[in-house]
Every structure is written in structure tokens, then in C-alpha cells.
Symmetry: C2
Subunit: 654 residues, 2 copies
């Protein structure tokens, strides 16, 4: 039998040594949760450190990510090759896999980036959803659990509360939260800001709840066994002492992250009876840790045998690899494109059509089924039906975004997030995580401008395009019409190094062009209307491209040659060479048109060029009234173009 | 006795008529909550429609803001002069006070902008906190309640959950939620996405919970009476039928906002026995409604009598008016400024010092007391101590931001929101509400760049400055040192037409200049280092101004004249004339330096100018290592300047 207590001490002292060595870090979690973690790894976890990417492994999420040393020591002690002792010695140094907070590195066993509180448990809900749907689709190949280490902060955050609520509703029985109930946050005692009965809160949401002494291995072990047997998601409330083992800090506010001293390390060694030098773990303790490899290796071998002969093996492997099947985009070519329609409707067509070739899509929507229409024939994923490919997330946008990250990080499914653009800010932290982790999540946002009409300024994005264009590794696409919307889907699906966001219209968009053999949107911008020599270049995105086209016709009536450039994706356009961009944007005077703020547009404008768009928040009135009120019309473009050319001496032709 | 049922029918039919007249709207709430609202106004509300700005009025928040017609009919029927019948007829038309969602207009009785779900109840928590503190400070002048109409969506949103948790903890006994428990959301039955025991969830958080038939006036009345008597915040769960009264839609998903027809109106009139033409309310029903004026008028007269002789009257009036007292900024002049220090520390100094002259400050912080240090001698506002000026919000940033809005909208206190810049996105929707409403909230954000060091990219803002600069009516200030930080406070306090956000450093900032008689930061940008004729202009913000100053010294050593422009606030700088800006920015080659992304900087740069900053997310290492790694150093600035001048033919002097 493994000596789990000694295994726990190994966590405790490796973490302490690494934090002391780094000069800073958060000892509270690894020292306080050592027994919980050791028990999980020794007795319950399904994982094989020799194959960190084994699809049927349990997923472990350190939602209290500041306690990163807990995860690193676990991975090192269990024998993950990419987590050598040197990595622990390099904790918090540039390039080390042991970053201050866990940064996704699945080859090293780090399943997901965490650290912003609440994100981890919300992602864990997504992972558990992914497991349930994949288990339904591929019985025999998918049967694993999701375990999350959870701090008080995660449970205070709204996104964490959303996670509790929906996980209970969906009855995600393979999800277990291990709550580090240490009664201390950064400010001091939790009762400075929390007095709620947290177990009762979980019970209200339909969870299975147990409370244990978080340093009593037998209690922890029994609770984990019971959690696995219960059909509900489980909370194990583990009463712990923060920074347990350091006499000066344990149970204190300073236990969280106060700087450690060599004396702390010495006193802790004395207190816990740990006689080994820094960074040293005795062989017999290491051997207990490495037992996971034996158990996990055997489980993986069984799985591999089933997998080898599974009739759905090829399809399973394709889903896992995120590969698109031959001809996957064919359904996009049959969709209606020729008449005015909202671009959100064109997106809904694409989403529905792609179900034929991409059954791995998993569509999440935050209580806007009717106006976004991305459900259609899809069945709801629910407690009763795990085969559904549509999740009614309720009015919980933040959770939805994080679940999409969790689904993407889990692998096997392609997550699509659907709501209004005005609500994107509710899930912005999760979108940033998708961008930071480089996860292929598709964020579909409808109602992208004042074009929503009279619901008013709360629901009218004016700064959202700028705010998301400013986010690294986020591709923002604002297609002009149905053709460009279908191109956006065609471009988004193969893009796997980060998220893509579509900004789509509620109001009908005029068709601006015919479909092309290969997507004209691919470079992010292109000349849609080319008059040869140019008097002026109109640059627009989304529904305003139709206005630019109309203005170009008006200008042609005056004998003026206006090129129209559609610029649906700035991030793609940035990847062109300066020469390529210059060829598209031209050297004639430029007018940019977008029903949003100018912020960011100076990237594409020169002194003397013009911008037509919003100058502040919107208002409540019908869309066409608002467009006129704010001066975003073809007539205004035409007037601005003639004024610009007059100011520049009749226009220079290029 | 008032006929409250008939009062409710008046709501029902005015709302129905207005929505039908507008061609769109959300009838579910006004028709479903008519009895609840009528009972509140007839029996319990403390308000005088003749003086909508009476400081001691009850605050009413329509958190389910899509049901805006409920609020408009209430205000019209109670006799608010700025809510005439014509406004209801103009529902959803440009310029009408009856916007699609309520937009703050306190003279008309609209206390706060709502519509993004969850914001309203979170603001309501702030209002209740403001009331409690003001009641403690000004006994006899402040004793009112906060009532919030609440939909299912508000309770699903994370920010709503945070509100429940903290309101219970703070024991805000004068706060009552009227929950429209209609079991319907936009997607259909709430059980598509909710199966939690919502009353039990409130009980777990320490609330007083009652359940009533939301169409039974006696039950509602009794519950409101009990709520007022209980020391805990109260939830009244009102079981309702959505869109009650329209036979085709009541109790159905379509009840939420399906388009109404003339036949619906006729059938509803028949079903409810309402025989009056559209927009007509019989005199006797109106008389019942106007009874509020009598009750409220009498209450206000009593209050006015107390106020007239209150010893603290002048101070109370000053707080209410948001006026700064003579000499309020004097304490800022004594603060340490001459040595390197984090700008967050300089802000903490300012916040502490201003307590002497601005006791109306109310500082909220999300579990980061130690690293932001904005508490110091302030006492905590708590269930036991209502006099505290510091709220431990727990790890609930979104709630904190919305509470700051609620406090500001309530009036009487000046709210200050403190956390890290990386967590700003958690509260971005609330920040947008502050900007949209034009509320004077000060958002203080520390840890504003890679300068935080090894906590890594999750905690390192790189796009936040751009994302908040893009928000209308949000002033983003990134001061260079302690002097500029104190100037930022000095400029922020008198700015009452919108929020101000400070982006402050964890790491020490080098002092870049001496204090000035009047704040040099006032125009948003100024020449900090003026060499007369210029070879190059270095434009920087925050901690990078110190780097620019160092580079200018290095360049001077090479005989090159570098001007340094500090640009702490772009929004202020935008208000200068183009000539004024040109005089500051100069015509020499420009290099912008900011430890953030370039996005947005092209506003101040011309083709050929340079930018030194971040190109993507950060990394985990010590701050000085990261600055070198990402090439944000004085040496790099110097090299870039010389290269730029070489490229431009030895530099043009201006």
C-alpha cells in the first residue's frame, strides 16, 4: 500500500522548496491541498503519465491557479516527462513550463490555463459536457472524469456560480469539485466577504455534497469513492489549513503568498518530520507516486485494445485530431445567398448545413435560440439526452464562453458560442483565455451595431469591434453579406491556432457579390468594386459594405470612380505584406465606413482621409432612423467623397 | 381604499397599447408583474412624483429592463411630469424618454439604465449600501428602501449571483427583490437551463425568502410588509403568468416579446373586462394612482421639515450635490512624490489623504486589500458597521463595478473601485454602464502591464488600455509617476459626467518631474522634456515615460535632441484643437512607447513613425527580464530613434 501521507509531504516540500527558490509564489494551496491531491492521484485518477494526450484520461483542472506549484509537483512526481525537476527549479523563470500560473501545455499534463478565478471550474463544466457527449457518440472509447481543485475565490466569482448552476441542471455526474475550504482569502478571513452556506448553495443547484477533513486521507478517499458513485456532480468540501506545515504561516492570511524564508523551510521540515534536502524525494515515496503509471498504463492498454478494434475508430480519431473530412465545406455551396438577409441568418444556415459533414460541432447559446436561430434541427444536450449538439446555457454568457474553452481544450468537439455582440463583454475574460490558449473556438455574435434598432444603446455595440480587434490572437470577422458569412465559416473551421469571432447583423444585408471559387475574404480584405483608376477608395465592413457599394454607384453617376474595399478581417489583412495591402487600399483618398467608433481605423487611414461611423453610444429608434440620425448613409459617403476630392484639388487618380 | 386590481389593469393596458403602437416591445413583464407593481406603489413605495430627485425616496430598479413598459406606465400613472402620455405613445422612437430599455433619467423617475441582465440587481445592492452608509452618517435624513423587479435571467447571470451572495453577507435589510417567477425565458420554459431551487439558493446566502401568488394582491401586500420588517434582504418569489391577460400568449414562450396584434388587444380587453379605448385610463383609477402623491408628498414634507433644521444639513446637501468642498485637494500636496514608487502606491496615498476632505468617498475592493493598499485606516462597511467607507467585495469584480454604478446613481457618495487591470474585463459590462449613464465612478486598476512580473500572461494586461480607450465617455489615465498619479486624482474628482479609470503600476515608477501649480496632465498630454528644436519626439504613458526620459538622456549624449511627451489621457488630449495637439506632438519623427499593444496608437503616429511595445501576450518572468525580453528598454528607444533619423536622412529639425 502506498503511503499517501508521505506522498502528500513530497508535494508539500517540493512546492515549498520551489517557491522559496523562486523568491515568490503561492504556498497556500499546495501545502493545504497536498493530502487531497495525493489521495486523488494515488487512488482515483485515471491517467497515464507516459501518454499525457491519451484521449480517455481524466481531466484535472487547477482552478485556483495561483497554487500552480500543486499541479507542477503532482505532474513531476507522477512522472510526466515534460515536467522534470529542473522545471520546478525554474519556477517563474522565462521559458519554464512552470509559469506563475498554469499555462496550457498538455504534453506536460497542464490541461488548461488558469489563474483568473472562476475560469477553471467553468472550463471544467465544458470538459464534462464534452466527455458526456463523446461517451454517447463513441461508447467504449470515452469514459473519464473531470476533477477540479477549487478555491474560495472561484466560488465567489459569478462565472463560478453560473458553473454550479448549469452543472447541476445538466447532471454532470462525472464532474467533481475539490474545494479547498481554508476560510482564508487574500484579504484575510473569508467571513470578511462571505457568510453564505456554500454546501447548501450546491445542494440548491442539485449537487451531491460531502464535507471532509481535507487532511484526513481516509475521509478524502471515501468521499471520492462516493462522488464517483453518485449520478450528480459532486462537491467535496475539504476543510483545510492554508499553508499547512509552515508554523509561522499555516492557517493565517500570510499563508496565501507571503514570502518564504529559509527558516520557514527548516521549521516546516521539523514540524512535518521531513528530513530530506531541498528538491529531494526519497525513492520509496517516488515509487508510490510512480504507481499511477502502472495503474494508468494498464488502463490505457485496455483502452488501446478496444480502440484498435472499434468500428468507429477512424471517426473517433478524426474528431480527436480536429481534422476536417474531405469535402466538409460542400454543404456551404448550396445555401441561399442572393437576396437580402441578416448575416446572422446566413450564419445559421451555415451552422445547420455543416452538421451534415461536421457532426463534431457543439453549439452553445445563451437563451437566444429564436433570434440567432443556430439550433434548428439540433437536439438539446441535456441530463436525459447526451447526444444533443446544442446546449441551452441559459442567461450565462460568461460560463458559455469558458465552457467553449473547456470543450476545445478537452478535444474531440468543435465549440461554437452564440449570443449578441452586446453581451460579448459578459464573456470577454473567457474569450481572452481562448485567445491566450490558442483554442479553436468560434464566437458567433449577432446584433452587431445600431442596426438592432430600438432596443437601444445598452444593446448596441459601438466599441466592441475595436475592443476585440485589440485582443491578440483573436480573429474578428465582420462579413458583408451571406456570401462573406459563408466564407467566414469556411475560413474559421480550419483555423485551429486561436478563436475566431463573427460580428453579424440582425438587419438584412444587401448581397454585394457572387460567390467565388476560393474565398475572397481569405486575405482579410480585397477590392470588391474595382473601377480601374480610382478617384476615391471606400473601405467598409459588414452591412456598411452595401452602403459603400450604393455610394459608388451614386459617385459613378457623377463621373467619379470609387473603388470599394471590403475589409472583413483586419487580423488576416495584417498578415499581408505592406505592398499587398497598398495594392488593395490604393493611394487615392480613402473613406472608411463602419457603424462603430473610429478607434483603430487610423491603422488604415492617412492624414486627410475620412471616417464615417459612430462617435459615441447609440440610441433607441428603428434601425433606418438611427442610420440616418448618425449620418451613416450612402448619401453621406457620396458627399464626403466629393468634398474630400475637392479639398485635395479635384482628386488625384492612381 | 384604492382598487389595486384596477390599478394593475391600467398598467396592463397602457403597456399593451404602447407596445402595440410601437410595433415591438416586451409585454411579458408589464402584463405579468402588474399586480406586484400596483401593490408596491399603492401601499409601500416611499416616493413623491412631484419631486423625483428627493434624496430620501425609495429607489426602484427594473432589473428585467426589457420590460421597460412596466416602469414607464408606473411613472406615468403615478404622475411624474416628465412621463406624459405622449412619451408612452412615442415608445421606442428617437428622443423619447420611453426608450426600448430604461435609460437613466432621474427627473422622469428612471433611476438607472438597465437591460443587460443582472446589472440592475447588482446596482441595487450598491444603492442599498449607499443608503445604509448615508443613514449612519446622517440619521434623520436618510431612511429609504431599494426595490428591484427581477427576472429569471437576472438570477442566472453571474453578476446577479454575486449580488445575492454579498447582499446577504452585508445584511442589507432594506433591499427587496420582487422576482417575476414566470418559468419562461426567451428560449422557452426555464427548465431548459435551470433546475435549481432558487429560494433555497437565497436562503443559503442569508436572505429572508417568501413565495406568493404574484397576481394575488393580498399575498403580495402581506409579503412586502413582512419584507420591510425583516432585518435581512428579502426575496419575494412571485409566481406569475407571463403576459397575463392576452389569451393567445399568456403563460407561453411568445408572451415574452412576440409581436402583438389588434386582435390580441381586443381579446385581452374582453378577457380582463377592460372596456376603455387605447391609452385611456378612467378617472377613478387614475385617482387611485395619484394617491401616491398624497402619501409621498406628506412624507416628503415631514422630511423637509427635519432637513430644514438638521445640524448636518449643509454637509448632507454637499454630499448629495456631489460638490467638492473648498480646499478639497490640499491633502494631495503633502504626499511623497520624489522617490521611485509604484503608481498604485501613490494612488493609495491620495485615496487615504482625501479622506480628510472628501469623507463621501466609498472605496470598494475585490479581495486585493494588501497589494492595492487603498484601505489603510478606513473601516470596513459591514453588517455591524454601517459607517465604514471600505467594502470588502470578495472576489466579485463584476458586482463591485455595478455596485459603484448603483452608489453613484443613488447619489451622496463618490464610489471608487479597486482591483487589478487584468480583472477589469470581469467588470467591463458594468464599466460600460457607468460610461453610458455618465456616472462619476473612479476605477482604480493596479498591475497594469508586464511590469507585474512572473504571475504571467493571464495577469498581464496588454490589450486593456486599447479596449478601454475605445469605450465612449471613459477617461483612461495612465500616469507616469506619483506626481501624475496625484494629478489624475485631482482631475478625476471634479469630473462628474462619466467614469475615469486609472491604470497604475505594481512596479516602482521613476519620478519624471516636479509637481506643478496646476496639473500638467489636464490637457491629457504635454511636453515633459523640451529640447527646443527636436530631432525626435518620444511619446509615452505610465511607467514607460521614465524609459523615454532615460532614452532622451542617452540621445543627448549623442548630440540628438529628443522631446518627451507624456500622454496620460488620450480622451482629454482629443479635446484639444488640432493645432494645440500638433504643437505638443511636433513634426519631428515620433516614437511611441507603451508596454501594451500598438492598437489605437496610429491615431498619434504617421507613416514612418515607430512604436515600441508589446506584440502579443506576455510571459512569466521577473518584470525587468520581461522588459528586456520584449525589447521595451531605453536602449531600444535610443537605437530606434537613431535608425529612424538615419532613414529620414539624418533627421529633420523642427
Amino acid at each position: 500500500m502506498a503511503d499517501i501521507q508521505r506522498m502528500a509531504e513530497a508535494i508539500r516540500f517540493l512546492a515549498l522548496d520551489a517557491i522559496l527558490n523562486a523568491g515568490e509564489g503561492h504556498q497556500g494551496v499546495p501545502l493545504g491541498m497536498a493530502e487531497i491531491a495525493a489521495t486523488l492521484y494515488a487512488r482515483h485518477l485515471r491517467a497515464d503519465p507516459a501518454d499525457p494526450l491519451w484521449p480517455d484520461r481524466d481531466r484535472v483542472v487547477l482552478s485556483n491557479g495561483h497554487g500552480s506549484m500543486l499541479l507542477y509537483t503532482l505532474l513531476h512526481l507522477s512522472g510526466y516527462a515534460h515536467m522534470p525537476l529542473q522545471a520546478l527549479r525554474d519556477f517563474r523563470r522565462l521559458g519554464s513550463v512552470c509559469a506563475g500560473h498554469p499555462e496550457i501545455e498538455q504534453a506536460a499534463g497542464i490541461e488548461i490555463t488558469t489563474g483568473l478565478l472562476g475560469q477553471g471550474i467553468a472550463c471544467a463544466v465544458g470538459m464534462a459536457v464534452a466527455e458526456a457527449r463523446l461517451a454517447d457518440r463513441f461508447p467504449g472509447l470515452v469514459d473519464h472524469r473531470t476533477w477540479a481543485f477549487v478555491g474560495d475565490g472561484c466560488l465567489q466569482e459569478g462565472v463560478g456560480q453560473e458553473a454550479i448552476s448549469l452543472a447541476g441542471h445538466l447532471r454532470l455526474g462525472k464532474l467533481t469539485f475539490l474545494w479547498d475550504d481554508n476560510a482564508i482569502t487574500d484579504d484575510g478571513a473569508t467571513d470578511l466577504s462571505v457568510s453564505e452556506d456554500i454546501p447548501a448553495r450546491f445542494v440548491a443547484a442539485g449537487w451531491h455534497v460531502q464535507a471532509v477533513d481535507g487532511h484526513d486521507i481516509a475521509q478524502i478517499d471515501a468521499a471520492m469513492t462516493a462522488a464517483k458513485a453518485d449520478p450528480r456532480p459532486s462537491l467535496i468540501a475539504c476543510r483545510t489549513v492554508i499553508a499547512r506545515g509552515i508554523p509561522r504561516l499555516q492557517g493565517q492570511r500570510g499563508g496565501h503568498s507571503a514570502p518564504l524564508t529559509a527558516q520557514d523551510a527548516a521549521e516546516a521540515r521539523a514540524a512535518r518530520g521531513w528530513t530530506h534536502p531541498p528538491f529531494e524525494v526519497p525513492q520509496e515515496v517516488l515509487a508510490d507516486w510512480r504507481a499511477l503509471q502502472n495503474r494508468g498504463g494498464a488502463e490505457r492498454a485496455e483502452w488501446a485494445a478496444r480502440h484498435a478494434t472499434h468500428p468507429e475508430r477512424a471517426e473517433f480519431d478524426r474528431w480527436q485530431a480536429g481534422l476536417l473530412p474531405e469535402g466538409w465545406e460542400a454543404p456551404l455551396s448550396d445555401l441561399p445567398q442572393g437576396t437580402p438577409q441578416p448575416t446572422i441568418a446566413a450564419s445559421a444556415d451555415a451552422c445547420a448545413a455543416l452538421d451534415r459533414t461536421l457532426p463534431e460541432l457543439m453549439v452553445l447559446c445563451a437563451d437566444l435560440e429564436a433570434p440567432t436561430d443556430h439550433k434548428r434541427h439540433r437536439r438539446a444536450f441535456s441530463a436525459e439526452n447526451r447526444g444533443g449538439s446544442y446546449v441551452h446555457c441559459g442567461v450565462r454568457e460568461h460560463l458559455m464562453g469558458a465552457m467553449c474553452c473547456g470543450i476545445a481544450a478537452h478535444g474531440g468537439l468543435r465549440s461554437v458560442n452564440v449570443t449578441y455582440l452586446a453581451f460579448a463583454d459578459y464573456e470577454r475574460p473567457a474569450m481572452r483565455m481562448a485567445a491566450l490558449m490558442g483554442l479553436p473556438v468560434l464566437f458567433v455574435f449577432s446584433h452587431d451595431s445600431i442596426g438592432i434598432g430600438s432596443n437601444g444603446p445598452t444593446h448596441q455595440p459601438v466599441e466592441a469591434l475595436a475592443a476585440y480587434r485589440s485582443m491578440p490572437n483573436m480573429q474578428v470577422m465582420r462579413p458583408a453579406d451571406a456570401v462573406e458569412t459563408h466564407e467566414a465559416w469556411a475560413l474559421a473551421m480550419p483555423h485551429r491556432s486561436g478563436p475566431v469571432m463573427l460580428a453579424l447583423s440582425r438587419q438584412a444585408a444587401l448581397p454585394v457579390r457572387a460567390p467565388a471559387q476560393s474565398p475572397l475574404s481569405a486575405p482579410g480584405g480585397y477590392v470588391l468594386q474595382d473601377p480601374g483608376a480610382r478617384d476615391v477608395t471606400l473601405i467598409a465592413t459588414g452591412t456598411e459594405v452595401g452602403l459603400a457599394m450604393e455610394a459608388s454607384r451614386q459617385l459613378a453617376g457623377q463621373g467619379l470612380r470609387a473603388a470599394v474595399v471590403s475589409l472583413p478581417c483586419w487580423e488576416r489583412f495584417e498578415t499581408l505584406t505592406e505592398t499587398e495591402r497598398a495594392a488593395i487600399l490604393g493611394s487615392a483618398p480613402r473613406i472608411a465606413i463602419e457603424a462603430a467608433l473610429r478607434f483603430g481605423w487610423d491603422r488604415w487611414l492617412r492624414p486627410g482621409d475620412a471616417f464615417i461611423g459612430m462617435e459615441g453610444f447609440g440610441a433607441s429608434a428603428r434601425a433606418e432612423v438611427l442610420y440616418r440620425h448618425f449620418g451613416i448613409t450612402a448619401e453621406r459617403i457620396t458627399e464626403t467623397a466629393t468634398a474630400l476630392m475637392a479639398a485635395q484639388g479635384g482628386g488625384r487618380r492612381v
